[in-house]
Structures are given as structure tokens and as C-alpha cells.
């Protein structure tokens, strides 16, 4: 089966600019996750969707980050305006149902963002 797709793979912007990342999960997967991975750290969950509803966005910096999954399939994560500390790899993952312990999260290749 096709894996989780993400685009773009790399992005370089200047601070205060805006940027958007796109994720297409595995077909039929209800749960979609966005993670931020800063160099030298583990992935940090930003937002979790189940279908088109938000399950958890407690660590999403809502003053500058937004995400949507309007039709319950693909998703977009936006940063506006970007700061230097947003430089990171943004990972998208999906799982089949509700994201429980017996489910597997499948990760995309990530988008590497550099903010200058």
C-alpha cells in the first residue's frame, strides 16, 4: 500500500514569512498526526485529528500555527508568521482508527523547514 505522503520535502523561508505543509495519509486511515521534530530532539505532537475533528491540539502554538483536515483525508499545517525557532522537521503520521495502543502509526518522510 502507498505510504504517508508529504510535500514539500524541503523549505527555506525568512522569518516572518508564512509556509504551508501538506500531508496525505494512508487511504482509509481515520487518525492523522502532525509532529514537530527539532534537531536533537524527539518528535513532539502538535495536533491529532480523528477524521475531520481535532482530538488534541494542546501543544500547537495557536498564535502562529494552524492545521486543518476539512474532508477527513489530507491535511495542511500552516505557520504564519514563522520564527527562527520553527526550524525543524515536520512529520505527518496516520493510523487506522482511534490511535490506541494496538494501532501502528505510519510516518511520512517529513518536511525539513529552515527559517532564516
Amino acid at each position: 500500500e502507498a505510504g504517508v505522503a508529504q510535500s514539500p520535502r524541503y523549505k527555506i523561508i525568512e522569518k516572518r514569512q508564512s509556509v504551508a505543509f501538506w500531508c496525505n495519509p494512508i487511504s482509509g486511515h481515520a487518525t492523522l498526526y502532525w509532529y514537530q521534530q527539532i534537531l536533537g530532539q524527539g518528535p513532539k505532537l502538535l495536533i491529532q485529528f480523528q477524521n475531520n475533528g481535532v482530538v488534541d491540539d494542546s501543544q500547537l502554538p495557536k498564535d502562529r500555527f494552524s492545521a486543518e483536515r476539512l474532508k477527513g483525508v489530507d491535511s495542511t499545517l500552516k505557520i504564519q508568521p514563522a520564527k527562527l525557532e520553527d526550524s525543524a522537521v515536520y512529520l505527518c503520521a496516520s493510523s487506522l482508527a482511534s490511535g490506541g495502543a494496538l494501532e501502528t502509526q505510519y510516518f511520512g518522510p517529513g518536511t525539513r523547514l529552515l527559517v532564516l
Binding site: 505510504g3 498526526y33 536533537g40 530532539q41 524527539g42 518528535p43 513532539k44 505532537l45 491529532q48 482530538v55 488534541d56 494542546s58 512529520l91 503520521a93 482511534s98 490511535g99 490506541g100 495502543a101 494496538l102 501502528t104 502509526q105 505510519y106 510516518f107 511520512g108 518522510p109 517529513g110
Partner: protein, 108 residues
């Protein structure tokens, strides 16, 4: 709030030697624990989960609730085990928290 700690950033062993990657956690509820692996130029992927009590690629991990640990072990390391390993915790509410990872290098 939950937390996952992997005390070793880097771990180097020789081929055929035993390897143990440490993971400690703090969480007030009953956690589910996982190990993820990222091989060079590949995606992050699940290696094993506590609830399944499985052995994958010779790796095992035992949840020790008394010591709040979930260390990953393999009796005989192989060169192809060289990778970045992340320990992760899933809360009762379904939220995932990852440690900062350990880079394992298996030398020939």
C-alpha cells in the same frame, strides 16, 4: 504531564555484543510504551510495543512499573541494528510523547 527520558544520546557496541537502550518514563496513569526506530534515510517506524509482548528483529523490551522503565534489549547486536531509537509513551487519552532518542552504532 508525562515525560520520556532516554539518558544516552549515543551508544556504541561491537557486533555480537549485547545491547541495552534505556528508557524511563513518568506518567500518573497506566501507560502504553513503544519503541520506534529510524534507519538511515528511512522513515520513522514502529519497532515494538509493550502491549503485544513481542520480539522483533531479536529485540525485546520489558515494562518495569516499579522502576518506570522500558529498556530495549538485544543479546547479540548486528551491524544492521545501527539506527536512531526512540522510546514513546501513549497516555490513556491517546496522546503520544517521545523521548529524544538514542543513536546506536554497531561496530564490526
Amino acid at each position: 504531564a508525562q515525560r520520556v527520558t532516554q539518558p544516552e544520546k549515543l551508544l556504541s557496541v561491537f557486533k555480537g555484543a549485547p545491547v541495552e537502550l534505556k528508557c524511563n518514563y513518568s506518567y500518573s496513569g497506566s501507560p502504553e510504551l513503544f519503541w520506534y526506530v529510524q534507519y538511515s534515510r528511512q522513515r520513522l517506524q514502529l519497532l515494538l510495543r509493550h502491549i503485544s509482548r513481542e520480539s522483533i528483529k531479536g529485540f525485546t523490551a520489558d515494562l518495569n512499573k516499579g522502576e518506570t522503565s522500558f529498556h530495549l534489549k538485544k543479546p547479540f547486536a548486528q551491524e544492521e541494528d545501527s539506527a536512531m531509537y526512540y522510546c514513546a509513551l501513549l497516555t490513556n487519552a491517546g496522546k503520544s510523547t517521545f523521548g529524544d532518542g538514542t543513536t546506536l552504532t554497531v561496530k564490526p
